[in-house]
């Protein structure tokens, strides 16, 4: 403390300065840092060594897989079976359709992230167009292509289909429930409260299972519909009940004066809502909404249990035959990587938005 010479703190520190302060301030801290960095580096190197350096890439070289102790990852299994993992049981010569359809959904999600698209009209149009493109391509009959019914869909394309239809259906349902929950009418409010709390305290798997198994019993057969649509509607209900709470948080951030100002101007309930309140609610609810969308994408993996051939089920099938059975690790790593890339990037985007909004609110 003898050094009292004051230098102006600079905003940007050099890497060595940061390291000195944050990693090596005292001998014990330095030892700890070296140990932790050492372990991390060793893990990263082992992974790199297994997955890249010693890996076998081509299906032709599958004979070398698992030979000796020096063998790394056998990506040959992916080379040979990636079509099954990505497209499931979709007709082999029609895979280009499945690819384009999946690209349409991914493009829809990516374009939604651009602030230019954040108006109700644009975003709704975008999602409907994206979803319709997907459906037309996959189903095919309306475009004069070979018809493939939903039970022929599978793999990553099916996962993306479930995801996009749940979000597309669930978002308006969630908004509806949120509006009902803040209604002045006690029965309307009570209905929403009971439904939201009920669905939220049940595991998603129970909701989906109910849709798949119970609905055929309690609905007349003309209302039953395909199993896939029943499950999508149930999943959308689950999404809606959580999203309703997200919207509720958004509504709470709007001062009451905004409503009153609308009324004072002689606007109707729907005009006040649509032109004054909702645009602000959406803005406030955006980070949590992205979080919900990410969770939904993750949870679509559950449909394997109720018998859908999603990307996880097709992964299981990919190493299900005797020849590929030893390489389950590679297949799971591949599928995990697909999920991870999608979820991680959406999550990071959500964090970025949250940070940006926190700044704009200051």
């Amino acid at each position: 403390m003898s050094d009292l010479s004051v230098t102006a703190p600079t905003k940007f520190q050099s890497i060595t300065q940061v390291l000195k302060k944050r990693a090596f301030p005292t001998p014990t801290q330095s030892a700890l840092s070296i140990l932790v960095f050492g372990v991390l580096a060793w893990l990263a190197w082992s992974l790199f060594d297994w997955a890249i350096l010693r890996a076998i890439w081509s299906a032709e070289n599958v004979g070398q897989c698992g030979k000796g102790t020096g063998a790394g990852a056998c990506w040959a299994v992916i080379d040979a079976r990636h079509r099954l993992i990505l497209f499931g049981l979709y007709p082999f010569d029609q895979h280009w359709r499945s690819t384009l359809a999946a690209v349409a959904i991914i493009a829809t999600v990516v374009i939604s992230c651009i602030p230019l698209m954040w108006s109700a009209k644009r975003i709704v149009t975008l999602w409907i167009v994206g979803f319709a493109t997907y459906y037309l391509l996959m189903e095919g009959s309306l475009l004069g292509l070979q018809q493939v019914t939903t039970d022929g869909w599978g793999g990553l394309s099916l996962t993306l289909f479930l995801f996009s239809s749940v979000v597309l259906l669930g978002m308006p349902m969630g908004l509806g429930l949120a509006l009902m929950r803040r209604s002045e009418m006690p029965f309307v409010r009570g209905f929403a409260v009971v439904l939201i709390d009920f669905v939220r305290s049940l595991p998603l798997l129970v909701t989906l299972f109910t849709a798949a198994v119970v609905i055929p019993i309690i609905l007349p057969s003309w209302l039953e519909g395909d199993k896939i649509w029943r499950v999508i509607v149930a999943f959308a209900l689950f999404f809606a009940c959580y999203q309703a709470e997200v919207f509720r948080g958004g509504f709470q951030a709007i001062p009451k004066g905004q409503f009153e100002a609308g009324q004072a101007l002689g606007l109707t309930y729907w005009q006040t809502l649509g032109r004054i309140v909702l645009p602000q609610v959406f803005r406030h609810a955006l980070p949590s909404t992205i979080n919900m969308v990410v969770i939904t994408f993750k949870e679509t993996a559950l449909v394997i249990i109720i018998g859908f051939f999603d990307v996880m089920a097709s992964a299981k099938a990919a190493f299900g035959t005797g020849e590929w059975a030893p390489y389950y690790l590679e297949v799971y790593v591949f599928v995990a990587l697909i999920y991870w890339l999608f979820i991680f990037s959406l999550g990071q985007y959500g964090e970025y938005l949250k940070g940006r909004m926190a700044i704009s609110e200051r």
């Binding site: 940061v18 390291l19 944050r22 990693a23 801290q29 700890l32 840092s33 070296i34 140990l35 932790v36 960095f37 372990v39 991390l40 002045e184 009418m185 006690p186 029965f187 309307v188 209905f191 009920f198 305290s201 049940l202 595991p203 998603l204 798997l205 129970v206 299972f209 109910t210 198994v213 119970v214 055929p216 019993i217 309690i218 609905l219 007349p220 993750k298 949870e299 679509t300 993996a301 559950l302 394997i304 249990i305 996880m312 299981k316 389950y328 690790l329 799971y332 599928v335 995990a336 999920y339 991870w340 979820i343 991680f344 999550g347």
Partner: protein, 378 residues
């Protein structure tokens, strides 16, 4: 009547009409569901009602905390499933909370190496679906070597494709359950007394260990050693505690995933503690540990507990994925019961009722905890 009154009247009438419509619609849907269900069930020759609970099941399942046979009635089997769900759920809640707090604190560390390690952990395990992690882990576990080539740590802990063998206290299962309950009770008592956080945690851990030692000395069967260690006898292990592979998979997968989530909750809570408080602690010359346990954590807990409660409920619900690897949780038992007995509606009602009960209980506990942790009024 003035024009305004008339408009007000009209609005009132409309509101009543909307609500009446909603009630009528709900009633119609419920009634329709009932009548359709009855005709559909009659067509299949099924009788509704809970009479089937007394019939014996005739099928076996993987895991039970109490002795089981295939002659057990449905009621007993469902109860076993419920116990399994609670068992895995509470173990997962305990472990995820413990690791979540450690990793969340590490995410907030000033040491950049520790922070990086914690961030890598969270970003990996939070961003892969839980069920994929579970199935992945299970595939790895069942491909482990058999008991004779089991991996061992210091010849006391063994891991093979049959399960994890740990040394255990020589107590009967009944005493073990009593110990567990006593430990939970001790924890609740310690929370309800307003004692400093660190003392509470130390008191709870110390008290629980003490109870275990006392119980092992007093209650062990005649001539048994205090602790039994698993030993390979022939093709299988004897002694110690064997945790079946499905249970290992469930606990490890849920813990890895859940602690990443709780770590984020804890990090968020710590980030909300004003920097001035930490600096005040530093100015007083408190050590880093003391600043964490006496200033940061008690402050952060107030914003941590509500989302933490949601995570606990999530963990309880997550036990349903046991069905993917054949672990006999309540959902698994219910789905097998449905295929075996056909009593779909009754069984789904039991399943939903059980989850409403448990999650409602957890919510009440969280609220109580939250009220406990509130700042005292000045």
């Amino acid at each position: 009547m003035s024009k305004a009154d008339e408009l007000r009247q009209r609005a009132k009438r409309r509101k009543i009409a909307i609500q009446a419509g909603l009630i009528a619609l709900s009633a119609l849907v419920i009634l329709g569901a009932f009548t359709t269900a009855r005709t559909n069930l009659e067509a299949q020759g099924l009788t509704s009602g809970f009479g089937f609970l007394e019939r014996s099941t005739g099928w076996d399942y993987s895991f039970s905390l109490v002795p089981k046979t295939i002659m057990d009635p449905y009621s007993q089997t469902l109860f076993v499933g419920f116990l399994n769900t609670l068992f895995v759920g509470f173990i997962a809640i305990f472990l995820t909370t413990l690791f979540g707090f450690i990793i969340g604190t590490a995410r907030d560390a000033s040491n950049i190496a520790i922070k990086t390690a914690a961030t890598v952990y969270v970003q990996i395990f939070r961003n892969i679906p839980l069920i994929l992690q579970l199935v992945f882990l299970y595939a790895v576990l069942i491909n482990l070597p058999g008991p004779r080539q089991a991996m061992s740590m210091a010849d006391t802990i063994f891991l093979s494709n049959r399960g994890l063998m740990l040394p255990g206290l020589s107590v009967t299962p009944g005493v073990a359950v009593a110990l567990l309950l006593a430990s939970i009770a001790l924890g609740v008592v310690l929370i309800s007394r307003k004692i400093p956080l660190i003392h509470g945690v130390l008191g709870w851990v110390g008290g629980s260990i003490l109870m275990c030692i006392v119980a092992a000395i007093a209650m062990r069967p005649e001539g048994a050693t205090l602790v039994t260690i698993p030993e390979l006898k022939g093709l299988r292990f004897r002694g110690g505690i064997t945790i079946p592979i499905e249970l290992v998979g469930m606990i490890v997968a849920i813990t890895l995933y859940g602690s990443a989530y709780i770590a984020e909750v804890v990090r968020g809570g710590l980030a909300q503690v004003p920097k001035g408080l930490t600096e005040a602690g530093q100015a007083l010359g408190l050590s880093k540990g003391a600043i964490w346990s006496r200033i940061k954590m008690p402050m952060a807990l107030r914003s941590i507990i509500p989302p933490l409660g949601n995570q606990w409920i999530f963990m309880m619900k997550a036990t349903t994925i046991g069905v993917a690897i054949g672990f006999s949780d309540l959902f698994y038992i219910v789905s097998i019961s449905i295929t075996q007995s056909g009593q779909t509606l009754e069984l789904i009602a039991i399943l939903a009722g059980a989850f409403l009960l448990v999650n409602g209980g957890l919510a009440v506990f969280t609220n109580w905890l939250n009220a406990r942790m509130k700042l005292k009024a000045h």
